[in-house]
């Protein structure tokens, strides 16, 4: 029967932790490079750009929190502190976003004249369509279409 203290097991655990840190570092470096290339490649596809980059950023932030900040080793109390703050953060933005977005959409009238705040609906269509950002106009081209004789 082996009564020796489990020194090797503890040492293995520490080496494993070191290896994990280095692997996480490598993953973060690779994901940063992926983000850089992705942003350049999909620069004209706004929806794909936003969704993809937020995905990569979320993965990277998760790796830092989970491994470097040792959230995987902490008890529920850490999540009780952080999760409500994050939820409130999201709610704060969502609460303020529609008012500003409605205002901007109401103004998206290339021929003319700004209309009142609050008209229109919050739309994620530009985001999901994966097309070039709809708020970009080329006025000359637009003007030519509008001024064709009926």
């Amino acid at each position: 029967m082996n009564l020796a203290p489990p020194i090797d097991a503890a040492a293995d655990g520490r080496h494993a932790a070191r290896r994990t840190y280095l692997r996480v570092w490598a993953a973060l470096a690779v994901f940063t490079a992926v983000e850089y290339v992705y942003a350049s490649y999909f620069r004209d596809l706004y929806g794909v750009l936003v969704i993809g980059l937020l995905f990569w950023a979320g993965i990277k932030a998760g790796l830092v929190g989970w491994f470097f900040m040792h959230m995987r080793d902490e008890g529920a109390w850490v999540y009780l502190l952080i999760v409500p703050a994050c939820l409130l953060a999201v709610i704060l933005v969502l609460a303020l976003y529609p008012d500003q977005a409605w205002k901007a959409e109401a103004e998206e009238n290339p021929m003319g004249i700004s209309s009142t705040r609050g008209v229109g609906a919050f739309s994620v269509a530009p985001l999901l369509a994966g097309v070039k950002e709809l708020s970009t106009y080329e006025f000359v081209a637009r003007h030519e279409v509008v001024s064709k004789p009926c």
């Binding site: 655990g13 008890g75 502190l81 703050a85 953060a89 106009y137």
Partner: protein
């Protein structure tokens, strides 16, 4: 709180994966970090809301940010891509055409080439000017008005931010995070000198991040002369547009956090070098500063994506 406040003696990453003990210091640090989450949400959330509410014509390739374009929509511009071999002739043409008050004025305009834009021209006037500039040796193009709700990444006519440099700086900060984690791992094994070396590396790499950020600020605010679509004055400073003020506020506050982190790391490093400094059983300050440092890294990952890439 029912959780017991035990001294931190358990080995890290024990095979059983029990939650590590919670100490008052660690609890306080996480509480502080949750307030920091709210702080940076205020900044990032304001940025998102401002961006969503920005006018679709707030930024353009031919006029300074927030210019009223209602009377300029039928006008076009001339883009000077290069002044050519004899820049003085081009400058004289610009003064002659009434687009610059003096040669110095004209020189500042042309400095923004290949995105030097001269807007507010009728089609006929633009054609005349383009011809005159070409005769003077410049490479030019007649440009229609293009507007954006917000400066797009890689659009040199409206966005001055250097994505490649900042991607490198993001990598730098990630490197500092791993040296910080390795410092904590070393002191948990009782390796004081190794831990101190990793702390020193974290300080140096963190300082490199700050140095690159200062270089970026200096370039944006004082060195480069940007196209009119970025700034009426040619420099990118906090007062030139909503985008600029958001950019400097967010990255500036983050930079202040990194600075505070570097200073805290210096204090910790000095303490670790003193006799009776940290040990395998007593290293809570390294863990606390490490948490803060990783959090600052995490915030930068989000800022880099939202401000520079999207």
């Amino acid at each position: 709180m029912t959780t017991s406040m035990l001294p931190e003696t358990a080995p890290p990453h024990s095979p059983s994966r029990r939650a590590t003990p919670v100490t008052p210091g660690k609890f306080a640090m996480w509480l502080f970090l949750s307030t920091e989450v709210m702080f940076f949400t205020g900044l990032i959330g304001s940025y998102i809301v401002y961006r969503a509410g920005s006018s679709p014509t707030a930024y353009s390739n031919l006029y300074p940010p927030a210019t009223d374009l209602s009377r300029l929509r039928d006008k076009v511009g001339v883009l000077i891509k290069s002044a050519g071999p004899d820049a003085h002739k081009v400058l004289d043409e610009l003064v002659h055409a009434g687009l610059a008050r003096s040669s110095d004025d004209a020189a500042r305009l042309v400095e923004a080439a290949p995105h030097a834009a001269l807007g507010g021209l009728t089609n006929e006037k633009a054609a005349e000017l383009a011809h005159a500039l070409e005769v003077a040796g410049a490479t030019v193009r007649i440009e229609p008005l293009k507007t954006h709700k917000w400066p797009l990444p890689y659009d040199d006519a409206t966005n001055p931010l250097a994505v490649t440099l900042t991607a490198f700086n993001t990598f730098v900060l990630i490197c500092s995070s791993v040296t910080m984690a390795l410092s904590l791992a070393a002191i948990r094994q009782g390796r004081r000198w190794k831990s101190a070396l990793y702390l020193l590396a974290t300080i140096l790499i963190g300082s490199l991040f700050l140095g690159v950020q200062i270089f970026e600020y200096h370039s944006l605010m004082f060195v480069h002369h940007y196209p009119v679509g970025i700034s009426a004055s040619g420099h990118f400073r906090p007062d030139v547009s909503l985008f600029a003020s958001c950019f400097f506020t967010m990255t500036g506050f983050h930079g202040a956090h990194v600075t505070a982190g570097v200073l805290a790391l210096v204090v910790i490093l000095v303490r670790s070098l003193l006799v009776g400094g940290f040990s395998a059983q007593n290293h809570a300050p390294i863990e606390m500063v490490g948490l803060y440092w990783h959090f600052v890294d995490l915030v930068w990952i989000i800022l880099f994506t939202i401000v520079y890439l999207i």
